[in-house]
Amino acid sequence: MKHEGYDASTLAAGQKTIAEFRNVSKRFGSVLAANDLNLRIAKGEFLSFLGPSGCGKTTALRMLAGFEAPSEGDVLLDGEVVNNLDAHRRPVNMVFQHYALFPHMTVAQNIGYGLKQQRPRLPKNLIAEKVSKALDVVRLGGFETRRIWEMSGGQQQRVALARAIINEPKLLLLDEPLAALDRKLRKEMQIELQNLQRQLGITFVLVTHDQEEALSMSDRICVMKDGRIVQVGSPQELYDRPRNRYVAGFVGTSNFFDGKVTKVTGTRASVRLENGDEVEGSPVSQVSVGQSVSISVRPEQIKLHRSGDGATARVLNRIFLGEHTEYLVKHDTLGEFLVLSPRQSELNDGPFNTGDVLFASWEASAALVLDSK
C-alpha cells in the first residue's frame, strides 16, 4: 500500500512544518473520503490540493479547520496533534466556497466577527481600526456599513477574505474560493491572492479542481485522486516529471500513447506501442520490462515538418492562438494528438493547413514513460 499513498512528508531543508497529516483517513459511512494521507505543509507556503470533484480535497481541508475529525491517523498543527480540537479553538481560518458571510451583519461586522470573539475582549476602537485596515488590504475601504447583499460577487469574495485574515491565522484555508467568479475576475483575484499571501506571510492552503488556478498560484501542488495523494511537488515538477499518467493528464495537457516496456537501458526505455511501433522514452520512475506504461508527450514538445523523419500525420484542425498555433493531427495507427507550434516554426515552414500530410517528431527526452495508472 505504501507505494500508493505517496509519501509527501518531506520538506526542503530549513522549512518549518506548520501543519501535517500523518496516515490520515476519513470515512463517511462506506465512503473513504481520505485514504492514508501523509503530507507536511511548510510555514509560509502556498499549497494547493488539486483533483477532480469528489476526490476528497474539501474533506482534507475540513480536517485542518476542525470541522471533521480523522477516522484514523493524526492531524497536527504546529507540532501538536489536534484531531479532536474544536474549530473555534484552532488558529486556523477558512474562506468558504460560497463565502458564508453573515447576512444579518454589515461588511464591518462580518470582518470584525473574529476579533469580537477574542477573550479577553478587545476594545471597540481597536476592532474598528483593524477592520478598516483589513478592508484596505482587500481594497474595499469605505464599505464598512454596506450590507452583504449590496456587494457584488467579487466584493463578497474579498469580504470573506478580510474576515478570514483578521485574526492572523497560522493557516488560511480556501475552499474553491474563486469558483463562483467569472473568468476575468478570477484572473484578477488569483493575482490578488498571491500578493496577499506574500504580503501577510500566512500559510495558504487552497482547494481547487482548476489546474490552471493551482499552477499559477501555488508554491506546491498536492494532486489527489479517490481520497489519496498521488503526487506533491512544485508546479514545474508536476509538469515536467509527473509521477503517472493521471498527474500528467491533470496538470497541463498531454498526448498519451499506451504500450509495454521492451527494454530498459540507463535513462531510456523502449516501449512497444499498441500499433506495434517501438519508441524511445525517458522513464520518470523505475520501470521494468513488460510493464504497461503510457508515453506522454506535451503538445509543445512535438515538432511538425513537411519533410524528414517522424510519424506521418494529417492535419485535422488548426487553431491560431497568436503566439502559438494548435494543431489537431491524426496518425493512421496512433490516433489523434495535439501539437502546439510556436509562431516561428510556422513562419519557417509555411502555415500548415487542414488536410496537409506532415511529419511529427519529438525528442526521446520529451517522451515521458509513465505508469499508466
Partner: protein
Amino acid sequence: MSIRTRNWLLLAPAGTLFLALLIVPLTVVLVFSFGERAPAGGVVPAFTLEQYANLPARWTAFKNTLTLAPIGTLAALLIAYPLAYFLAVRADPKWKTILLVLVIVPFWTSILIRSYAWIFLLGGRGLPALLEWIGIDGVRLINTPFAVLVGIIYGYLPLMVFPIYVSLDRLDKRLLEASSDLGAPPWRTFLQVTLPLSVPGIATGCMLVFILLMGEFLIPAMLGGGKVFFVGNALVDLFLQSRNWAYGSAVAVALVVIMLITVTIYMRLLNRLGARRDDVAIM
C-alpha cells in the same frame, strides 16, 4: 387582458371573502355596540356609549386574556424553540419528515377530544392522584389558570414550532461553521448567528399564537371550568346565553382594538430591532 385587470382578478376571491366575512360583520358589530339591548334579546339601534361604560364589569375576562395570552405565547415559544432547533439543525435528515408529522399528528383529532383528555389528566383521578400516591397532597390542577395555560400551550405548540422550524431549516449551516471557525464557541454562535437569523420565524410564530389566543374560548371553557374566563367566553355568554348583543358587540370591539394596539406595538418593536441589528427583513 391588461395586467391591471389580471391583478384585480388575482385579488378578487380573497377580496370578496374579506369583504363579506370581515368588513361587513365588523361594521355590523361596531354599529351594534352603540345600540341598546332589546327586551327580547337583540339590539335596538341607538347612539349611546352605555355599553362601553359597562366594560369594566367584564374586567376579569380581559385581565385573564391579557395575562394568559402573552404568558401562553412566551411559554409556547420557550418550549417550541428547542424543539424546532432540534428538528431543523440536529435531527437526522432521514427522520426529519417523520418527526415533523409527529408534531402535527395531534391536529388530526379535534381539540375538543384532546381537551377532554386533559380534563382527565389534570382532574382528580389524573396527575393529582399520582402526586398523592408519591406523597404530595392537595394539589388541584383542573379549573385553574395553570390548567388553561397547559391546554393552550399544548394546543398552539405546532403553530409556534413550524415558523421557527422553517427559519432554522433555511439557515445556511455553513454560517454556523463560519462562526465557529472565527472563534465563537457554540453558545455564542447560537446567540450571534442562529438566534438573530431565526427572528423572522419567532416573530411569525408569536404573532400567530398570540392573536389566536386572544380570541380563544374553548380551552378556558373546558379546562378553566367557568373559573378562568377569557374574553372569548364572555362573548359566547353575551351573544348566545344572555342575548345581550349590544354589550357583546362593545366587548368584541374592545378586544379588536386591544389586539390592534398590541400588534402595532409589537410590529414597531420588531422593526426597530431589525433596523438596529441591520437585520434581515422581518416578515
